[in-house]
Assembly symmetry: C2
Homo-oligomer: 360 residues x 2
């Protein structure tokens, strides 16, 4: 097991990465204060891992309630969140109770937001079981739900007590979900670490095969890069926004197709290809570098061609993105592979990218 | 105008108290960063003050959207909150936008919670127009909504940029709302300032008549006491809980009768009488002191006899109160007039109080 620490003063917490972690009682023990814990998961993950987590918590003397939500981004709504609150109140959960988020990004985001809001804030532990959540969404404290008019529009910055990333759970992932997670792994290399990017290019087969050694390195390095950025800028006043590389286009794809049609990671994979194209137009990236990114995205089985939603629709969808500020959309652009910047870009260049990538 | 500062490090903010404040553009100006502000208010307050606030903000160059919600505690729900999010997204509000809460405690709590959650947190300004919100709910950053199983069960600690308490707005308050606000004023004296309590006893007629001079002192001293407590313990790990004096019984009354039947302040007024009775039984307060409190509550036109909901129902309702921790309900008790403590109390003593005060 490897352990990183995300340094955020009194809100610092450990990220444990390794094999057979979900039944290690000691990993949970010091983060639990009260006598009640709710394990929040979904219908897909529950039959695989819920029992082991519940038994582990019970071995610590916890009264445990299992809350099983429907599976999918389309359920990342207030109505589903309400089921968590209902269960907590029915069980008499108090301010010392703990939530455990067992699942992917949707479960982590909703459980974290429930923890942020229940009685104005209780503890929670992230137990991510997908690659996407292990390398990205479980780390950094972004929680929330979707609104019909925009993704993650309602939420909180709320840090977990700990992240327990059990690499064994990746072995049960459907190939599409594995690829979706790899999108965020590529992103970390692209924005912050040219060597890591190169390592990814050299390990395509192992990554696609979910080889444990490759996965360990991919998760560890991703968590290091992300922790480092979040520690500098917890609430996204500046550098943290670079983690949204590919997300402005990606969110537009997700929202435009209807949440759940494209996996988040798929949309981000394609969004990165689009953002790289835009970076070339702005003059910050060579066409060769953009091509390398596109090739890696494709090699890791992610889409590189966006849905044809039309110019106006894309522009509309991107303008509601959270990164739109004071009326102008700011894009995360690559400054060569391994470096990134945040910039407002002329609409005309964006239109050219949409056209060139097949979006219009 | 008097200005207090609530000292919370980088989250510190001013509380302005005085006459004709709601149209003073300078009071808003430095707390607004973006170009869009939503004024959130209710159907009762809108015709009285919305126009003045909107015009003042427009004079600062803001694009302003007025959001008018239905009036009453019964609407302090997710459904109503959703109307705020809908309006913000429809208007293209971004992370630099500002919310102004114009109204009483319900508007302040919901608007503050909307600000805490919208895009994971935007600015907001409290413009309380009721006595209760001026002396209590607008100060200290408690925001939230109710759940059918408990009051304020879903929310956030989220501080405003400023509180602008215009004393003139108190002149339009219905007498019941004035009395409800005075309950929290009494509370501040009872838990923290014997001299202020005595001043209240000596100014009953002026207070009932909403005399401007008396109101100024009542609001100012209440805000001082509350600010002082919140500055020591923002997230209610300790001393802040003393501000809940009367609230454990009070919340049980509110929930038991159905939200909106009793005004919050009425329930707190009666709850303080019950908590004083309990303080006597625990041996911390003399019967004379409890009698003084009851007399003051009655003189300020607040109920002193709880609804007869029965023993089991009260015990049930109080056990879901947020202050119930690890299975035991902790009560705020007086330690003489002007001092308070937090204690777990034997159920039998609580039962005696419920019987003696007419609750069972």
């Amino acid at each position: 097991m490897k352990t990183l620490e995300l340094e955020l003063g009194e809100r610092s917490y450990p990220i444990h990465i390794g094999s057979r972690l979900i039944d290690q009682a000691e990993l949970y023990k010091k983060h639990i204060k009260g006598s009640f814990t709710a394990v929040v998961t979904n219908e897909t993950v529950a039959p695989l891992y819920a029992d082991r987590v519940v038994k582990t918590l019970e071995s610590l003397g916890q009264k445990v309630r299992l809350v099983v939500l429907p599976d999918g981004e389309v359920y990342k709504t207030w109505e589903t969140l309400q089921k968590i609150f209902d269960a907590l109140l029915e069980s008499g959960a108090d301010r010392k109770s703990t939530l455990v988020a067992l699942g992917g990004g949707v479960i982590g985001d909703m459980t974290g937001f429930a923890a942020a809001c229940y009685m104005r804030g209780i503890r929670f532990i992230q137990v991510p079981t997908t690659l996407l959540s292990q390398v990205d969404s479980s780390v950094g404290g972004k929680t929330g739900i979707n609104h019909p008019l925009g993704k993650n529009m309602v939420g909180a910055f709320y840090q977990p007590q700990a992240v327990i990333a059990d690499l064994d759970t990746l072995q049960t992932l459907p190939p599409k979900e594995l690829a979706a997670g790899l999108a965020e792994v590529i992103k970390h290399g692209a924005i912050a670490d040219a060597n890591f990017f190169q390592w990814l290019e050299g390990n395509i087969d192992s990554l696609n095969a979910c080889d444990p050694k490759a996965m360990e390195h991919a998760v560890l390095r991703s968590c290091e890069i992300k922790s480092n950025v979040v520690a500098q800028d917890e609430k996204e006043g500046g550098v943290r926004a670079t983690l949204n590389f590919g997300h402005t286009f990606g969110h537009a794809i997700e929202a435009g197709m209807g949440y759940g049609e494209w996996l988040h990671g798929e949309a981000v994979g394609c969004g990165m290809v689009m953002a790289a194209d835009l970076s070339v137009r702005v003059g910050q990236l060579t066409t060769d570098e953009a091509e390398r990114l596109k090739k890696l995205v494709a090699a890791l089985k992610l889409p590189t061609v966006p849905p044809r939603l039309g110019l106006e629709r894309y522009m509309d969808l991107m303008s509601v993105d959270k990164k739109a500020e004071g009326g102008e959309v700011r894009y995360i652009l690559l400054n060569g592979i391994g470096r990134s910047t945040i910039k407002a870009v002329d609409d005309q260049l964006v239109a050219q990218t949409l056209e060139a990538t097949g979006a219009v």
